[in-house]
């Protein structure tokens, strides 16, 4: 522990009274608006890869691999993976926003020192940043949804309900990324976050293959991954949902987000308010 502290690891920080955990919506909104304003200047460049990403996956996996794997669980392979790409786009967007982008704002631009010397408090900053990250992820998710719909890979009108669930999933991914950002002392450690966290989740959350013929433990492991739950929701809604499955998966994401929220608030307070 002492060694970690020497390397700049500040830890989670002391407990914070509940009233200092609850953000003021108007001030969290101010933080959100700053990020939205900057994004509005850059969105053209930022959105283009989002259009291309699902094309590439569909091309390689849907049309390439899909030639050999015609059907999964009774639906064409392309249709099986396409809705999951909405979920993974939201995950990648959240992961990048709450790691590199937040890190840059915090440590390079040093914006938060200024923000925290105004009436804005740490919990407002975290809430505003998370809300922004979720917004951005949802924009990306909607883009992917539109692309796969154009390709005819959405078979149910329930798909129109996907965006609000993407918001929920994105909040969950964002809290996890933000927690990591507030705890790491050096930017180099993000490679662990992506290689050991995000990439395995992308590959093993049931996006590309179903668990039905695999051993049970694979399913159990996947259950602990947020992406698994969001993929279940988006696939369910795009192909015609099972009501209780959507509710259960959404509850899982909501509960985890709520449980984790206090960690980045405490860690960021410890980091910025000495």
């Amino acid at each position: 522990m002492a060694m970690l502290e020497e390397r700049g690891y500040a830890g989670i920080g002391p407990r914070v009274p509940l009233r200092e955990m609850v953000p003021v919506p108007r001030l969290a909104g101010a933080v959100w608006l700053r990020n939205a304003r900057v994004f509005s200047k850059l969105w053209r460049g930022a959105l283009l890869p989002t259009f291309l990403d699902p094309f590439l996956y569909l091309l390689a996996l849907g049309f390439g691999l899909g030639t050999y794997v015609a059907h999964v669980n009774g639906i064409p392979y392309k249709e099986f993976i396409a809705p999951g790409l909405i979920a993974s786009a939201a995950m990648w967007s959240s992961a990048f926003e709450t790691t590199y982008n937040v890190y840059f704002r915090m440590n390079e631009l040093r914006l938060y020192d200024n923000v925290l010397s105004t009436p804005v408090e740490v919990q407002d900053v975290v809430a505003g940043d998370l809300a922004w990250s979720a917004t951005r992820a949802t924009i990306y998710g909607i883009v992917v949804l539109a692309v796969i719909a154009v390709f005819g890979l959405v078979s149910s009108w329930w798909a129109l309900l996907i965006p609000p669930f993407v918001v929920l999933g994105a909040i969950c991914f964002s809290v996890i990324g933000y927690t990591f950002t507030t705890l790491i002392p050096k930017i180099d450690l993000y490679s662990y976050f992506f290689t050991l966290g995000i990439t395995p989740m992308f590959l093993f959350s049931g996006l590309f293959f179903p668990f039905s013929r695999l051993p049970d433990w694979v399913h159990v492991v996947a259950w602990f991954m947020p992406l698994y739950h969001l993929v279940e929701i988006t696939r369910g809604l795009a192909t015609g949902p099972e009501f209780w499955s959507v509710v259960g998966n959404a509850a899982w994401l909501a509960v985890l987000s709520a449980l984790l929220f206090s960690i980045p608030v405490r860690a960021l307070r410890r980091k910025l308010v000495a």
Binding site: A30, K41, L109, R110, N114, L116, S117, T118, P119, A274
Partner: protein, 309 residues
Amino acid sequence: MSDPAVSARDVTKRFGERVAVDGIDFDVEPGICFGFLGPNGAGKTTTMKMIYGLATVDAGELIVLGMDARRERRQIKSRLGVVPQETNLDGDLTVRENLLQQARYFGIEPDEAAGRAAELLEFSLLSDRGDERIHGLSGGMKRRLLISRALMGDPELVVLDEPTTGLDPQARLAVWQALDRLRRRGVTLLLTTHYMEEAERLCDRLVIMDEGRIVSEGRPADLVRSHVGREVLELKLDEGCDAERLVGSLDGRIQGHDLSERTLMLYADDAEAVLEELDHEVFPTESALVRRATLEDVFLRLTGRSLRE
């Protein structure tokens, strides 16, 4: 005296083993410019941060604008403006957007914010730069924009941490003039500085800090008079000159002295007379200079001449 703008009683701050601020007491009368002087690491910035809520108070009582700095952070900050040591403007936004964004952090309505931003761009002489990006500004302009940003919330108290460090003389003058205008409006100013000239010029009262404690407090002129006297005789001694005997020979005619390498400072009300009385045969000098005593002399007397890191 009306209620102090800031009042500190036995305020203490530790970082692990190190005591950054060691039980300091002071009161800042509203409407004045109050300075914190001291070498690096004296605890000035930490004191400022405790006032504006970026550092917690470990012990003692710190009252800002009548509120407890520990419990009423948000309320205190809504009436405070902060000019930090580091330039932390938002590089992704334009000059004007920086001000408008600051207004949002204070919950100010957009219409009102636009008017105030225009006014403050004028105040900081940046009206024609409003739509430029931050990285195009000079150091002095950035500093003025930082001051304007601190004023967006219409504060009663403005805290400035080394507001002119790294500026050229013209830019520094512009900042000083801006601070003068602010004080005339009745805003209380709290500033830290390394520049004695700046402290003498701007501050009504000041404290000198060293190693986390306040070593002296008063009006700049009074501090100079009480610690140094009116004038200084600065002697550059020859190799063979015995400084101790020289000082001894002037016993009673000087208020104090300091020796640093071969430079001897003699403090007196009439330094010219001291120079005339000095036996130049016995005490050979390379050069002699009579000058007015300044806050710098007080500062170096109280905090020592050795380098602080």
